[in-house]
Structure formats: C-alpha cells, structure tokens
C-alpha cells in the first residue's frame, strides 16, 4: 500500500565561524583599459562565489559585471581567505570587497582631483565613469582613467579587509558566545509517499521559503536551494558510511553502497521563495547562505513519514529496513 503524508520544519543557520575572528582580504585593481581585477582567496567549490562576489564589486563601483575579472588562482596572488566554508564567503568576503572598492574609489578621486585641480570630495564615481558633481560633463570613463593612471605614474588598486569580532572563547559556565555574523532562516514542507510493503519512501513535492538577507546572485541561490533538496533526501533516506552505527561493521567503499540521490529521487518540483530581511552588517544586507539547503528537508521528511504511516522514526537515514521494523512494531 502507498500512503502519503506531509511534514513541516523550520530551521536557522549561522554565518561564519562560531567564535568569530575569521578574516578575509580583498584587492581590486583598475586595469589600463578600465576593466578591473578582483583578487580574492575565496575558492569556488561550485557554490558560485566567483559570480556573487563579482556582482558585489560591480555594484559598489557601479561598473558592469563583465568588467570584473575574478582572480583567485594561487596563494602568492590571492589575498587571505579563511576558507570557503561556514557560509561565510558572501558576508565576510563581500564586506572585504566593499572595503576594497571604497578604498579604490577614494584613490580614484584623489588621482583625478590632482589631475583636474579639484577637491576629491567634488568627484563622483558612478555609471562606469568619474565626473564632477557640479558639472557631470567634466568626466572620464574608467578606460580613460585606467590609461591616465597607469601611464601617469599612478597605481589605482583598492585594498580591503573584514574580520568578524573575535575569536572568542565559549564561556565555561554558561556556554555564552555572543559574537556572531548573522543568522539565516528557512521553512520547508515536504510531501512523501511511503510504500508499506517495501519500506521505500519517495519525496513527491517540496515547498520552501528561505530568508537570507539579500539574494546577491539568484541563479546561484536557486542552485543551492534545489541542490540542498538532493542532499537532504540522501541524508534522510539512504546515506550512511557505517550503516549499523554504532557498530563498525560493513563500512561502505563505493557509490553502490553509499547511495546519493539521483534525478529519479527528486520531487518533480521544488516550489520556493527567497525572502530578504536585510542584515545591517551584510553586504547589501546579505547574510550567509548555501549550506543550509539540506537542513530543513530531513526533519520534514521524518514528520511526513509519521503523517503517512503513523510512526515516528527518529533515526536517519530512515532506510526501508527502519520503516518496515517500525510498522511491524506498531502492529504489535
């Protein structure tokens, strides 16, 4: 018999190291043709940081995204990045980029100010050019500025860094550790179908809302949300390195035994929305995001299984064996 059920879950996730103190640096240079070299240590592991961080630089300088080169190739060139983990790249890397871009704009204004004999505060960097606030027709394109500075003995490169408060020790008595970059949130509803003969569980549909401060790069965000569905399904239903933990027996050694979700395991649709409650310290209000895509799926699946067959199985992966045993116990 096939039975359907729905489950609900809500979660939160933190941005950055727990304890803080994990810095990033950024460097953004104006090339001689008016395009830019954004140098970062942040590694793109597929999450799309090259894309999102370039968008942040483009926005702050008000130049097209296509004008930004993202360079992270080696540790001689790349400024310090603590790591592409803890959902920290957008918030901490992004803030370092904002600081670097502001430094660059200040240097641009100083250079052009000296060139034109005007005060730096009378200049505006916007719309892919630099111009006089009171006379916008007195302007220089980024290309012209790149050439003028490079061949005029200048070197227009912005430097920036950002370090969250910390590192802090956890208080030994209370466990207090109040320094934190940000917290993001999500709610998920999942509908499953349980086959009471095989114990198999299929995820039919999912519906989600993520609150992440600001979706810097929405196509990348979608990738994390839908990608999280796949990992959540795998963790909830099939993945275990030691299937009979705490026993050390039968540790797996190939993908035939460590079973990941495939296209056939996905719901036909993952309806989702991204909400934005701007964080005061995040770049353009962004909080950290990416890891949390799998989190809410798993308890929602457990609740949905309960809704379908009336048993609470609070162990994952909830394999067919666990489902059948739970059903048998229920009968007794």
């Amino acid at each position: 018999m096939r039975k359907r059920g729905k489950g609900l879950s809500s979660i939160g996730y933190i941005t950055g190291f727990f304890g803080g103190g994990d810095p990033n640096q950024a460097q953004i240079g104006l090339k001689m043709d008016g395009t830019f070299n954004l140098m970062m240590g942040t590694v793109d592991i597929g999450q799309g940081c090259k894309t999102a961080l370039s968008q942040i630089a483009a926005e702050e300088l008000d130049v097209p995204v296509e004008a930004i080169t993202y360079t992270n190739s080696d540790t001689d060139i790349a400024p310090f990045c603590m790591g592409a983990f803890a959902s920290r790249a957008t918030f901490i890397g992004g803030n370092a980029i904002l600081n670097a871009c502001r430094d660059l704009k200040r240097k641009m204004k100083e250079f052009v100010g000296a060139l034109w004999g005007v005060k730096a505060e009378n200049l505006v960097v916007a719309d892919n050019q630099i111009f006089l606030k009171d006379d916008p027709q007195k302007k220089m394109s980024m290309g012209e500025l790149g050439a003028a500075s490079t061949f005029g003995g200048g070197y227009l490169t912005g430097l920036g860094a950002y370090r969250p408060d910390g590192p802090f020790q956890v208080d030994p008595v209370t466990g207090a550790m109040p320094a934190l970059c940000a917290a993001s949130f999500a709610t998920t509803v999942v509908e499953v179908e349980v086959d009471t003969e095989t114990g198999g569980v299929e995820v039919i549909r999912s519906t989600q809302a993520y609150e992440i401060g600001k979706a810097i790069s929405p196509l990348m965000c979608r990738g994390q949300i839908n990608g999280g569905v796949a990992m959540g399904i795998g963790m909830a239903l099939t993945e275990s390195v030691y299937p009979y933990w705490p026993s050390g027996d039968l540790a797996v050694d190939n993908f035939g035994d460590y079973v990941l979700a495939t296209a056939a395991d996905m719901p036909e649709e993952n309806r989702f929305a991204i909400l934005e409650v701007p964080h005061p310290d995040g770049p353009y209000g962004a909080k950290g995001f990416s890891e949390m895509g799998a989190n809410a799926m798993i308890p929602a699946i457990t609740s949905a299984i309960h809704d379908a067959i009336g048993v609470w199985i609070t162990e994952f992966p909830t394999t067919p064996e666990l489902v059948l045993r739970a059903l048998a116990d229920k009968k007794k």
């Binding site: 597929g46 990738g223 190939n254 993908f255 979700a261 296209a263 056939a264």
Partner: protein, 161 residues
Amino acid sequence: MKYPLSFTLNGGNVDALVKPTDTLLDVLKEKLNVQSPKRGCDTGDCGSCTVLLNGNPIRSCLTLALTVEGKNIQTVESFASKEGKLHPLQQAFHNHGAAQCGFCTPGILISAKALLEQNPHPNRKEIVEAISGHLCRCGTYLEVIEAIQEVVGQSGKEKGK
C-alpha cells in the same frame, strides 16, 4: 607490454600505445589529454566518465581501451560547432545554472545528447530516466531537466507526460 590502438575521436583519427589493462578513460585523460571526461569513482557508479561510443553513452572507466579499436568516440569537446558556437544543450545548461562545480556536467551532457538523438521529443519521465545514472552531489538535477526541456521545446512539440 603495450599495444597500438587506433580510433576516431571527435571526428579525427588518434593513435596510442596502451596496456591491455588501460581503460578508455585512462587513455583519453592521460595519453590523449582529453579534459572533459572525469574520473569520479572508477567503478562505473557516478557517470562522470561517460562518453559516446558509436553514438551510445558508455562508462569509459569500465571500457577497456583496446576494445574501441576502429570505433567512434565522442566527448563534449565535439559539441560546439566548427565556428565555436555552443550546442543548444550547452547553452541551455549554462543559462539555467545546470552546472555548479561542473565536475559531473560533461557526462550528463553526453547522456542528454544521446537521448535527444534517439528521441527528439522525450517527456519529463524519459529525460529523468536518461540522466538518472549520473550522480551530482551539487544536486543540479532540476536545472538539468529544465535545460533539456527547453532544448526539446525549441525543437518543436513535446509529447504529453
């Protein structure tokens, strides 16, 4: 002891000296410097080594190199036109965000191309079946399906679900 191997790769003839135990993946990557097929598991589970053998998708990590003597192998490097224009599948994958880390993407593109060549108007179920042998840990499946559906839609009608 090595043996000569000759086959057609992406429209051109290639030669290599191979051991009997070399797989097609070993030869493609380490002797012929073909970048797109990937070594994800070497046991035929993940699909990232998938290439076309006489038009059919096969696991190059499970295929002994000497068995492709005289045959026709195609990888993703053959997809773009002679002028470098992306194949509609490649363009659609790119536009829909169907690649994240990109490691499994060439293998999926191979299976997608083989599907559309054998069945120009697959429904969603047929698309899922064609790509369900590919493991993608980034979880791009929904975007991949969307991208393939767009290409199917571009080419005319779609069979009912």
